[in-house]
């Protein structure tokens, strides 16, 4: 009797709160969420707190080690590494922060729609999705970037497009699980339109999967973004970016390893933070993330 005696006022809000509480109550969730929030806040405020101008070169002070004035030393052009590390995630967070929701939204919608429709069209779409997935991400990205440049206006749609495709697959699989359930049959039997069924019956049940999926896409997008920078196809100098900084500093690694360590730690901590959060979120929502392929 006691179980149902307290009717919640706003069920959806209650659920969100309880999931959040569950995430934070796990060590991985607490650490992960802290890292993510830390990086996002830092990206927002860093331009006002950095000690130096990120592009100010100093030929007198090239590749100096960590010291009181330059906490992480200077790079091969004499720029302050600490300043550049603080600023180095802004571009990545901006691009992936916009591209992730777009990718999850369009991929999720297409996946749910085709999961519901099923049949021949669905089969054909899945072959196309398979075909896209069979090409390595780096090839797809590079071809477009080399042609259209590396501006934000190119990177965002490109990432959003390519990273939406695997979301189709996930959303479709999750939809198939839901479509088989009687409440969808009940809605069909009542005569609701397809859009109503998607909005009221399918979306609320696929949303959990999409949220976890979004977190994972975000982390892989960051990985792709910084890999591209590292290969020299991403952010153009002198804009500070972790991937680019690691690539630049690698050549001097034998005598100035601090130039590598700063951005390595910064980038890794952000991606690990996102993944820890995604893991905790998946557990809180009762989804087994480990059983899915990263594709």
């Amino acid at each position: 009797m006691t179980v149902t005696s307290a009717p919640p006022q706003n069920t959806r809000l209650m659920r969100t709160l309880s999931v959040l509480r569950d995430v934070v109550s796990r060590p991985s969730g607490a650490i992960g969420l802290f890292l993510v929030v830390f990086h996002v806040v830092l990206a927002l405020v860093s331009p006002w707190i950095v000690p130096y101008d990120y592009k100010a070169m100093n030929s007198a002070m090239m590749l100096t080690g960590p010291e009181a004035t330059h906490w992480l030393g200077t790079d091969h052009l004499g720029r302050d590494v600490f300043t550049r590390v603080l600023l180095g995630g802004r571009e990545a967070l901006l691009v992936t922060g916009i591209a992730t929701p777009i990718a999850v939204t369009w991929g999720g919608f297409v996946g749910i729609l085709f999961g519901l429709i099923g049949g021949r069209i669905d089969e054909v779409l899945m072959r196309v999705v398979d075909a896209f997935l069979s090409l390595p991400w780096i090839l797809k990205m590079l071809v477009l970037i080399v042609t259209f440049g590396t501006g934000v206006e190119v990177l965002i749609p490109t990432l959003a497009f390519f990273y939406g495709i695997p979301v189709i697959r996930i959303a479709r699989a999750a939809t198939h699980d839901v479509v088989a359930r009687d409440f969808v049959s009940a809605a069909r039997a009542r005569g609701h339109s397809r859009m109503t069924i998607i909005r009221h019956e399918l979306l609320p049940n696929v949303l959990d999967t999409l949220m976890v999926e979004g977190a994972m896409r975000w982390s892989w997008m960051l990985l792709a973004f910084s890999s591209l920078s590292f290969l020299g196809f991403g952010v153009s100098p002198p804009t500070p970016d972790w991937g680019l900084m690691i690539a630049d500093a690698r050549g001097f690694m034998s005598f100035a390893p601090w130039g590598v360590l700063g951005p390595v730690i910064a980038l890794s901590s952000l991606i690990i933070g996102i993944n820890l959060t995604a893991d905790a979120l998946a557990k809180a929502l009762g989804i087994d993330r480990a059983q899915k392929a990263p594709v």
């Binding site: 006691t2 179980v3 149902t4 409440f183 809605a187 005569g191 009221h200 609320p204 049940n205």
Partner: protein, 681 residues
């Protein structure tokens, strides 16, 4: 050995809840099982009966722990033994037959390999004879062609065959005691009856003790000497099967018995209101106090002990002497009934449904994929205000027919017409809004038919918005009214389905269907997922709604007694074909078609004085025969070639009672009478 075989003393088992408190699942249970004795443990879901049975093996599910007490088998404490000792006993002296054998057999190992493994671990047989012994065991559980079964994987067997294989495995170690955890739940009526007879025979032949856990009092009545009734983790009543089932002295046991629909009783069963407390939710007093008609103030403040009476019974109730005042059998309402000839509400005209559709590869390979339709030749008229029961075992096509009427599964042939002679479009997408509203479907399992992410208000608003365009206050008011109609308060509107009990959820599903103000309601096994006491309440509600709204029902169930309780007419299906159709009273009083006779004969009543009659084997047929009578392969009254080649004609009796058989109803009645006389002689 002098003491009892299994001696459970004052055990309590619990788990740590989210709040950190220990929540008990079993509370102070005492149970003794003597050699050769057969004990039934009865209770509804969550009563702890399975936990108790597993605890007898010294096994607790992950998360559970023993709080106090001891479990001894052959005088030795099971929880104090080493792993090796336990491995010796389990599957050897003490064997388990699990609930769903389909999931309890390892899917990647052949039946033979699993049986041989059991023999290797526990049997005193030389290695060379393992497979001969395994085949012998499979023969003993009456599996046809044991050598072939040996090479099969579990999923290649039917449910009944899997259960038999599991029994064979349990017998491999020559156990002295057998624990059975709902061994026939989920099986068809005839299969269940056959398995129970097998278990009875085996236990008698080998002198084994049995602990039989079940929610089904009919099965318990058939196999057990003594019965223990559990409620909320406690034993509330213990006694001989006759004492417990005929003159129970605990209010819960009486309520439980009264809530079971009987084949012999046309009245509705009486519901037991409320629900059992959650683990840890029972207060200081009696755990049944909230649902008890005899409860007094004292029952709330102190917990009754299990009192042992001179009659051999034990009861946990302060007022057991007054329990006999409570009614024991269905004193519920007489089902509402139609009078005279009403216009037709639904007509199925030669309906045929095929599940398989030709695929691309079938076409390429030139396969004839249409084959024999799953459902064929269904011709039924349902009058307005009438309740038609559709009964049959799994695979009989009863739910398939409902899906076709609802438009979820387009028929491959025939026509569906509703009141006024209008034909329904086969697909739901092409039906008019009016037709959509007038036909509503209620599903078996409310956990599946209610969207877990929507509140009750959102669930009820869907039909109201769609069919009546209601918004704002009117919408809210109407939702509350509808909830009230299914006897739930308006405060349920803000809740999620997961915050409701099984019975409450099914009420919401019913409310959603009735929100459309339908003419025709299709009920697909609507009580099968519910406990008996809750089932009675749902049946009562459906009966009420029918009386007040004049709704026409098509009521599908595998439970013949449930159909009996609610239906005016009943149609019996086998392999997607009609066998018998007629007024419920006539069909139940005089089942004419050989299949109906077999089916009704196999039903178990919660009464130790009745026994099922098993007149046909329980082979599961995967697909209907291409021609002739669908029941030809199992029929105990088969005539000959004509049954294999010719589709049987309708044979008419009185009052619209008809069967599809090459025998006439009169001939069959004579044959049945002769058979009964033969048995007596």
């Amino acid at each position: 050995m002098t003491g009892p075989l299994i001696d459970i003393r004052d055990i309590s088992v619990g788990f740590t809840g989210k709040s950190g408190a220990t929540l008990p699942v079993l509370r102070n249970i005492d149970l003794k099982v003597n050699a050769g004795e057969s004990i039934g443990i009865v209770g509804e879901s969550g009563s702890g009966k399975s936990t108790l049975a597993l605890a007898a093996m010294g096994y607790l599910k992950r998360g559970l722990r023993l709080m106090e007490g001891s479990v001894a088998f052959q005088g030795q404490d099971m929880f104090a033994r080493t792993r090796t000792e336990l491995e010796q006993i389990r599957g050897g002296e003490l064997a388990l037959i699990p609930q769903n054998s389909g999931q309890s057999l390892t899917p990647t190992l052949r039946i033979g390999a699993q049986l041989v493994e059991a023999l290797r671990l526990h049997a005193d047989v030389p290695e060379a004879q393992y497979s001969a012994k395994a085949i012998e065991l499979l023969g003993q559980v009456r599996l046809p062609d044991p050598a072939a079964i040996m090479t099969r994987f579990p999923h290649e067997l039917s449910g009944g065959q899997q259960q038999r294989a599991a029994i064979a495995m349990a017998l491999a170690g020559e156990p002295t005691a057998l624990l059975l955890d709902e061994p026939t739940t989920g099986l068809d009526v005839t299969t269940q009856a056959h398995i129970l007879e097998l278990l009875r025979d085996i236990a008698r032949d080998r002198g084994m003790a049995m602990v039989y856990v079940s929610h089904d009092l009919g099965a318990i009545a058939r196999v057990c000497d003594r019965v223990v009734v559990m409620y909320a983790g406690e034993v509330v009543l213990e006694g001989s099967t006759r004492q417990v089932l005929k003159t129970p002295i605990h209010p819960y046991a009486r309520g439980l018995l009264a809530s079971i629909p009987r084949l012999s009783d046309p009245r509705l069963p009486v519901a037991l209101d409320g629900r059992p407390p959650a683990p840890g939710g029972a207060g200081q007093g009696c755990s049944f106090v909230d649902r008890c008609a005899l409860a007094q103030d004292g029952c709330r403040t102190s917990r009754p002990d299990l009192e042992r009476l001179p009659s051999g019974e034990a009861v946990r109730c302060f007022h057991y002497q007054e329990a006999h005042q409570l009614s024991l059998t269905g004193s519920g309402a007489i089902p509402a009934s139609l009078d005279g000839a009403s216009p037709s509400a639904l007509h199925l005209d030669d309906l045929a449904i095929s599940y398989r559709r030709p695929g691309l590869f079938d076409k390429v390979l030139g396969r004839d994929s249409a084959g024999v339709p799953t459902v064929n030749g269904i011709e039924i008229t349902v009058a307005k205000g009438e309740t038609l029961g559709l009964v049959g075992e799994s695979g009989s096509g009863k739910s398939t027919i409902l899906k076709a009427i609802a438009g979820l599964l387009p028929p491959s042939g025939g026509k569906i017409t509703v009141a006024g002679g209008q034909a329904l479009a086969p697909e739901v997408e092409h039906r008019s809004p009016d037709h959509l509203r007038k036909i509503q479907l209620i599903f078996q399992n409310p956990d599946d038919s209610l969207n877990p992410r929507q509140t009750i208000a959102q669930i009820l608003e869907q039909p109201l918005k769609l069919y009546f365009g209601l918004t704002g206050d009117a919408l809210h008011q109407r939702s509350a009214d509808i909830l009230d109609r299914v006897r739930l308060g308006a405060h349920y509107l803000d809740r999620l389905p997961s915050q409701l009990s099984g019975g409450e959820k099914q009420r919401v599903a019913i409310a959603r269907a009735f929100a459309a103000e339908p003419d025709l309601v299709l009920c697909d096994e609507v009580t099968s997922a519910l406990d008996v006491s809750v089932q009675a309440a749902v049946l009562d509600l459906l009966n009420d709604l029918k009386a007040t709204q004049g709704t026409t029902y098509v009521f599908v169930s595998h439970d013949l007694a449930v159909v009996r309780a609610l239906s005016d007419r009943v149609a019996v299906l086998y392999q997607g074909r009609l066998c018998e159709l007629g007024p419920s009273a006539d069909v139940y009083a005089m089942p004419s078609h050989p299949y109906t006779e077999v089916l009704l004969g196999a039903v178990l009543e919660p009464d130790p004085d009745t026994a099922p009659t098993l007149s046909a084997d329980d082979v599961v047929e995967l697909s209907p025969p291409a021609q002739g009578c669908p029941f030809q392969r199992r029929c105990p009254r088969k005539i000959g070639r004509i049954c294999d080649t010719d589709t049987p004609p309708w044979q008419h009796g009185t009052q619209g009672h008809a069967i599809k058989c090459h025998h006439s109803i009169a001939d069959l009645a004579t044959a049945q009478a002769e058979g009964a006389a033969g048995q007596r002689a």
